[in-house]
């Protein structure tokens, strides 16, 4: 597939628009196939559930081809600097761990959130730990305890209490 073509200037970490276009096309094709299977089962009747998925995913495939064409036409134009993918990946990992810890462990909202705030603020910060650690700690504790108390005591929304005797 043409999606594997690398634009000359984009040998950095970031994938270029052509790769993105190729992936969009591939995903679109998969979804289109699924839509066809559904329509095969339920029919293409305009009043039935089968037609709209075929139209939308078909449109997806066409538009992704249009985008791919646009990207190839513009490939000489340098895209903005690649940016780093390390920080977003770390953030995403932190988010997923946070959600799983909240749901599947007895850590509780306050501890999990405080830990998440510390990790995330550190990941996003460019300043040395020493300068901001006290501030970050204060925000972590304040935010997590504050949210927990407001939600559970004032609003009656249940958040996992966890191991802390709150």
């Amino acid at each position: 597939m043409s999606g594997t073509v690398q634009e000359p200037g984009a040998a950095k970490a970031a994938p270029g628009p052509i790769v993105a276009g190729g992936m969009l096309f591939a995903v679109g094709a998969l979804l289109f196939a699924q839509a066809l299977a559904l329509a095969g089962e339920r029919g293409y009747a305009p009043s039935g559930p089968g037609l709209a998925p075929v139209i939308v995913t078909g449109l997806w495939v066409l538009v992704s081809l249009g985008y791919l064409a646009e990207s190839i036409r513009n490939r000489a134009v340098p895209t903005e600097g690649g940016g780093s993918w390390r920080t977003p990946l770390l953030l995403l990992a932190a988010l997923i761990v946070y959600a799983l810890v909240l749901k599947y462990t007895v850590t509780g909202y306050v501890l999990a959130t405080a830990a998440f705030v510390l990790v995330t603020a550190r990941t996003l910060s460019t300043r040395p730990v020493r300068e901001v650690v006290v501030r970050d700690l204060a925000v972590a504790v304040g935010l997590s305890v504050g949210i927990y108390l407001v939600f559970t005591r004032l609003l009656g929304i249940v958040l996992p209490a966890g191991v802390l005797p709150l």
Binding site: P46, E70, S125, L155
Partner: protein, 513 residues
């Protein structure tokens, strides 16, 4: 009951201490999120939904949400003028001349014309709303499925016609939204579509989940990918050093016609499907520039360039409420979340809303007046406070956004799967920002797609499969005809400009958040 007496009843209800408090909370939060980067009115309302449900007061909650919408506009104009960083797209036009005024030591005049202009525009357009809403609702009672389908087509066409710089990217965003709208149980037949065996997907993807993913998670991940370009702190800017006059006599004279013209652009464009605030603000900017007797000042801080777009911006909100309240059709991302909020309270906007909950509707409309008075009082004197807000360290701000985003989804659904879906959409949104895809069409596709499909199929089921139902009803035909006009309309300025030999500025559809 006439609109006027209903409106007076609305005032009576809004002026209760509790509702005044809701309005005050709303405009304060709204101004705050308008000033802050990375968080806009749509996201804020989405995150406040679980909280508001516990309050069990639909009227108060909706008054608060309307306050957030308005407040965010005021907040957005503040940052546009002082920092040249429009917090939302509708403020982009304001920032062009507004920032120049601030650089030349006329920040206070710019802020004043923006605030007073917003107030004037909001007042006039709310009166218009009050008088248009009821007749519109009465008309909407007669709307049949085929008419709603034609309306959805009209809305969809205007969205696609204004998808921004690149047609493929705009359409891709829209298509993604349409696809998200397909996920789940088909409402008419119970058939599951694109659920990939995940039971949590049977109900479809909730608009709150999508908004949290697109805006909160997506924006934060994107910022994280370009951390090096991000200043650790906002440049300390303190333009409001003493000795400023408010508006001079000449400023007033130049501002008020621009306010009125801006209002006239804002209201109808807001009321049109997919109107939103971007088009009228830029239209107002263009018209003011063309009419101005002070051509030499443009680009160096012409006050009309602030007065007009800000008025248009605020007037558009009352316009947005017309189709939202009378037809249940949202024309912007924020309106889409407000529609969801109605749904959570088991209220369906549409003609029945005026019959079933007139108190709520009129209190909401009256609250717009009250909210604007509050904003006027809140913004000009407290401008230093809002500038301070901008100095929240970015790492903590974005961390906070992630915490509230996770909480918002988790508290609504109690499901970790929904949280993970929001994260996944956030990852996609990060790439969308990276490759310059517009975000707002995703939400409009998510809302309008199912509306269009459902009404189309309902109309066919009702006519026993006879397609002529779409060409025999005069109202349906008229609306479909308007859709054709809307398809051609955005190209008219280009054609016009080319005929006059000038430069074409294409109307474009940008972020609504």
């Amino acid at each position: 009951m006439s609109s006027l007496s209903s409106l007076l009843d609305g005032f009576a209800s809004v002026l209760s201490p509790q509702n005044l408090l809701y309005a005050a909370i709303g405009v304060t939060i709204g101004t705050l999120v308008g000033v802050l980067p990375g968080i806009g009115p749509a996201l804020t309302i989405a995150l406040l939904l679980p909280v508001s449900l516990q309050l069990d007061d639909p009227t108060g909650t909706l008054i608060m949400f309307a306050g957030i919408y308005y407040g965010a506009m005021y907040g957005g104009s503040t940052t546009s003028i002082l920092l040249n960083t429009p917090g939302e797209s509708a403020s982009v036009a304001t920032s062009i001349e507004g920032y120049q005024m601030a650089r030349r030591g006329r920040a206070r005049a710019a802020l004043a014309t923006a605030a007073i202009g917003s107030f004037v525009a909001a007042t006039i357009s709310t009166v218009l709303l009050a008088f248009v809403a009821k007749p519109m609702a009465d008309l909407a009672v007669t709307f049949r499925a085929s008419d709603y389908f034609a309306l959805a087509v009209l809305a969809m066409v205007t969205v696609t016609a204004m998808v921004g710089a690149s047609l493929p990217r705009g359409l891709m965003s829209l298509t993604f939204g349409l696809f998200l709208g397909l996920v789940g149980i088909d409402s008419l037949t119970g058939q599951a579509r694109f659920t990939f065996g995940v039971p949590e997907l049977l109900d479809g993807v909730d608009v709150v989940t999508v908004i949290v993913g697109l805006f909160a998670i997506g924006e934060t991940l994107y910022i994280a990918s370009r951390l090096k370009d991000l200043p650790a702190k906002v440049a300390p800017l303190e333009p409001v050093k003493g000795g400023f006059a408010w508006l001079s006599r000449q400023d007033w004279a130049r501002s008020w016609p621009a306010w009125l013209r801006g209002t006239l652009f804002g209201f109808p464009f807001g009321a049109l499907p997919s109107g939103g605030a971007e088009i009228p603000t830029f239209l107002s900017y263009t018209v003011e520039k063309r009419r101005s007797k002070h051509q030499g000042e443009w680009g160096k801080g012409a006050i009309e360039g602030v007065a007009g777009p800000e008025a248009a911006n605020n007037a558009s909100f009352s316009g947005v409420l017309v189709p939202l309240l009378t037809l249940g059709i949202p024309t912007s991302a924020t309106a889409a979340v407000m529609l969801a909020a109605f749904g959570y309270f088991d209220l369906s906007p549409g003609p029945q809303l005026f019959e079933k909950s007139p108190d709520l509707v009129w209190a909401l409309i009256a609250s717009l007046f009250v909210g604007n008075v509050m904003l006027l009082a809140l913004n000009l004197p407290l401008i230093r406070v809002w500038v301070k807000v901008l100095q929240i360290p970015r790492p903590l701000l974005y961390t906070g956004i992630l915490v509230f985003a996770t909480l918002g989804v988790y508290a609504v659904s109690g499901s970790v799967v929904d949280v993970l879906i929001a994260y996944a959409i956030g990852v996609l949104a990060m790439f969308m920002r990276r490759f310059d895809f517009p975000i707002a069409p995703v939400i409009l596709g998510l809302i309008l797609g199912p509306m269009m499909e459902t009404q189309f199929r309902r109309a066919l089921l009702l006519s026993d499969g006879d397609l002529s139902v779409f060409v025999t009803r005069p109202l349906t035909v008229t609306l479909l005809g308007l859709a054709v006009v809307a398809l051609a309309l955005p190209h008219l300025p280009k054609v016009w400009a080319r005929l006059r030999g000038g430069d074409a500025q294409r109307l474009s559809f940008a972020e609504d958040d």
